[in-house]
């Protein structure tokens, strides 16, 4: 078993490295890539355009060949460091430009902050740049400017977000550490005192509740419809599971959202005050209130709809699968022997049949974890639930590569781990399985 686990873990590491290289390589094939919007902006002169493109290219490290960039990403320094003059200049320019268009006072304030504090930073960084000998050698430039070589993702430096929350370390976004400004909504998210605000925790809560509730519902359904095969209830439950498997998550989510979130509130406000309604989005009622993040009542109200939506297809799938494996087990000789011994129905079904029918189920549940993570992207997007799904959705939509890569790596890791867990769990519940 130990040898097997070591071999599987090594395979897992290989898969992760390959996945990351694959994704990194593919991302770099994108025309324009992260500088797509820089390329599309109107410029007065060609020189100005070239300068902007050149600046963005350096800022994102696109002037290096892909292997170097991948290795940088794996273990080297970050082009969006605050010692990088080009990065500082770019942030400043972007702030000046955005200042003319924005009306939101909060955003204006943070832009004003950049505009007033950056010029001296840029000046000193440029002074440092002037002393560097080779301006076009990316690696020596980094050390010359004093940009820390504190490692890439291998050493836990997952880079900083490019677009979703510019300049914020990716891990801070994922773990909900530190204050940052959400670029898509312009909302300044305060420094949290609650660890439960982290998107990772939010998604884990959503996923584990979903698994728990799916199990609690699917198991009785599966056992019941197997024991009462071909009864009216069995037909009804089978039909239900077909419905559940075929229901598109996003449609079901939208219907629930409109019915329980909006229509019920309308009716509630129109006088049916006994009618409860559910919040339509978010993790808590008020994002800026840190106290609400630890208020279990509020959290649960916000979790009900996402959990139901995320659980529907797993309830349907698992109950159907358990029904099939129960039927198979119930036909076997040892179950007939148990009946013949005169054991109680409860004992035969739960102790003799169910225990063996659960063996293949274990694998199914472990393998469902990455599927749930995918489902969470859709569910969180509909209910605007601040988890990894929303974060990933924003990262993909805004070409935020570091964030995107990090979440892809985390979800690949999830797949690898759940595959290994499935194998181990299988060996534990089924003593006939021996790995070598």
């Amino acid at each position: 078993m130990t040898t097997y686990l070591i071999r599987r873990s090594l395979q897992g590491v290989l898969v992760l490295i390959f996945t990351s290289a694959l994704i990194y390589g593919l991302l770099n094939l994108t025309p324009g890539g992260p500088i797509g919007d820089v390329l599309q902006k109107p410029y007065r002169t060609t020189a100005e355009r070239n300068a902007a493109v050149r600046a963005a290219t350096i800022r994102y490290g696109l002037d290096k060949d892909i292997v170097t960039r991948y290795l940088f990403w794996l273990y080297n320094w970050d082009p969006t460091d605050n010692n990088n003059p080009v990065y500082l200049q770019n942030t400043y320019d972007a702030a000046v430009q955005e200042m003319t268009g924005t009306t939101d006072p909060a955003r204006k304030g943070s832009l004003q902050n950049i505009i007033s504090t950056y010029p001296p930073l840029i000046a000193s960084a440029n002074k440092a740049l002037a002393t560097c000998s080779n301006l076009f050698d990316f690696s020596s430039l980094g050390s010359c400017l004093g940009i820390p070589r504190n490692g890439g993702i291998i050493t836990g430096n997952w880079g900083t977000s490019w677009k979703v929350a510019t300049g914020t370390p990716v891990l801070n976004l994922i773990f909900g550490r530190g204050a940052y400004t959400d670029n898509s909504s312009g909302v300044a998210v305060p420094h949290p005192s609650e660890r439960w605000r982290s998107p990772l925790a939010n998604t884990l809560v959503l996923m584990s509740l979903s698994v728990l509730i799916s199990l609690l519902i699917a198991f009785p359904i599966g056992v019941y419809s197997a024991v009462k095969q071909y009864s009216a209830t069995d037909y009804a439950l089978t039909l239900f599971s077909f419905f559940g498997i075929s229901m598109p998550t996003f449609w079901f989510g939208l219907i629930l959202y409109l019915l329980l979130g909006i229509q019920f509130k309308t009716w509630h406000d129109q006088g049916a005050s006994w009618l409860p309604y559910l919040p339509t989005g978010g993790v808590v009622d008020d994002v800026s209130s840190t106290a609400q993040y630890s208020d279990i009542g509020i959290r649960i109200r916000h979790l009900i709809m996402p959990v139901v939506v995320l659980s529907l297809s797993s309830v349907a799938g698992w109950s159907r699968f358990l029904r099939a494996s129960m039927l198979e087990v119930l036909r076997q000789d040892y179950v007939r022997t148990a009946w013949a011994k005169g054991l109680k129905q409860r004992t035969v079904i739960l102790k003799h049949a169910l225990r063996n029918a659960l063996i293949p189920q274990v694998t199914l549940i472990a393998l469902a974890i990455p599927v749930l993570f995918g489902g969470a992207i859709i569910t969180e997007r509909i209910f605007n639930y601040g988890g990894m799904g929303t974060l990933y959705f924003n990262a993909v939509g805004q070409n935020d590569w570091p964030l995107m890569m990090s979440i892809l790596i985390i979800s690949s890791f999830l797949v690898v781990i759940s595959n290994i867990i499935a194998d181990i769990a299988y060996a534990i519940v089924d003593p006939r399985i021996r790995y070598s």
Binding site: V15, I23, F243, I378
Partner: protein
């Protein structure tokens, strides 16, 4: 008397001559829901294919725009020119009925095309892997393992951005993620068949590897391939519409059931009932396909006596 004997002979003859196809069809028909599903799929396919002939408006042009609000509820009649929108219009004033019909062409064809490609690639890889075994098998199955251990939906979104959202991007990506499942299935089936006596006999008669695979192994593993392919159609339709719904799939102005729903979501608060149509079409299609797949599984299983 003469009449009776003739009848008997005919009956015997017809019973003997019942082809495999009609046996399957007879068994399939026992699943009433699957037959209904077949009807639904047939109707939807026909309506989508003929969309150019019967849809009232251009699906890409905002025909209705009153200026104040761009969308219209079902049954809206434009007072200025009398245009009637049976299913209303979407967030920017395009006829929902026409968009659904054209969207059906894309959603259904993505499902069918991906299934076809996946079945072809999966069968070829699976057959080669299962039949030849050894090094070829190891390499191919490691690739399969690798693809299966990529996170599906996150990768789908990332790849869609990388390759540029569009019809062929979706087809290529879904195929790339779909074939490993089928090839595993085919490999398993070929592995269980290749050491049977009849294969040995064929080889003794001098049949080539290609002939053994194409004439003997694959026809015998056709049943699971067909069932798998049927269920794949539904899976691909849901996958395409999910990606399009999230905004990374079929991009505007072309319509797919997923991106129509995304467009209608913008006006969900004002016209909530509009949301029913695209989702219902996806749901009905996938439900029908799942019923058909289930019925096919029973109909094609020789061990099952129906």
């Amino acid at each position: 008397m003469a009449v009776a004997t003739t009848l008997d002979r005919e009956q015997i003859a017809s019973a003997k001559e019942e082809s495999q196809r009609s046996v399957i069809w007879r068994r399939f028909r026992k699943h009433k829901l699957a037959v209904v599903g077949l009807g639904i799929i047939g109707t939807l396919t026909l309506l989508s294919l003929t969309a150019q002939l019967w849809t009232p408006y251009d699906p890409t042009v905002p025909g209705f725009n009153s200026g104040v609000q761009a969308f219209a509820n079902p049954g809206y009649s434009n007072p200025s020119n009398g245009d009637i929108y049976i299913m209303g219009t979407d967030n920017i004033g395009r006829d929902v009925l026409s968009r659904l019909a054209y969207g059906g062409q894309i959603s259904l064809s993505v499902g069918l095309l991906c299934t076809l490609l996946v079945a072809i690639i999966g069968t070829i890889v699976g057959a080669i892997s299962g039949f030849f075994g050894g090094f070829v098998d190891t390499v191919l199955m490691r690739i399969v393992d690798l693809v299966l251990s990529l996170p599906f939906l996150p990768m789908l979104l990332a790849l869609s951005i990388v390759l540029g959202p569009g019809y062929w991007t979706i087809v290529i990506i879904l195929t790339a993620f779909g074939w490993p499942g089928t090839s595993r299935l085919v490999r398993g089936s070929v592995l269980s068949l290749r050491n049977l006596d009849f294969v040995e006999a064929t080889r003794a008669l001098g049949a080539s590897n290609t002939r053994i695979i194409t004439r003997h192994l694959l026809p015998n593993s056709l049943a699971p391939i067909i069932v798998d392919a049927t269920l794949n159609v539904g899976g691909f339709i849901v996958a395409e519409s999910s990606v399009s719904f999230l905004g990374f799939g079929i991009s505007e102005p072309a319509s797919s059931w997923g991106n129509i729903l995304a467009g209608l979501e913008d006006v969900a608060r004002q016209a909530p009932l509009q949301l029913i149509w695209p989702g219902l079409l996806i749901f009905l299609t996938v439900l029908s396909i799942n019923f058909i797949g289930d019925a096919l599984r029973d109909a094609l299983d020789p061990r099952l006596k129906l």
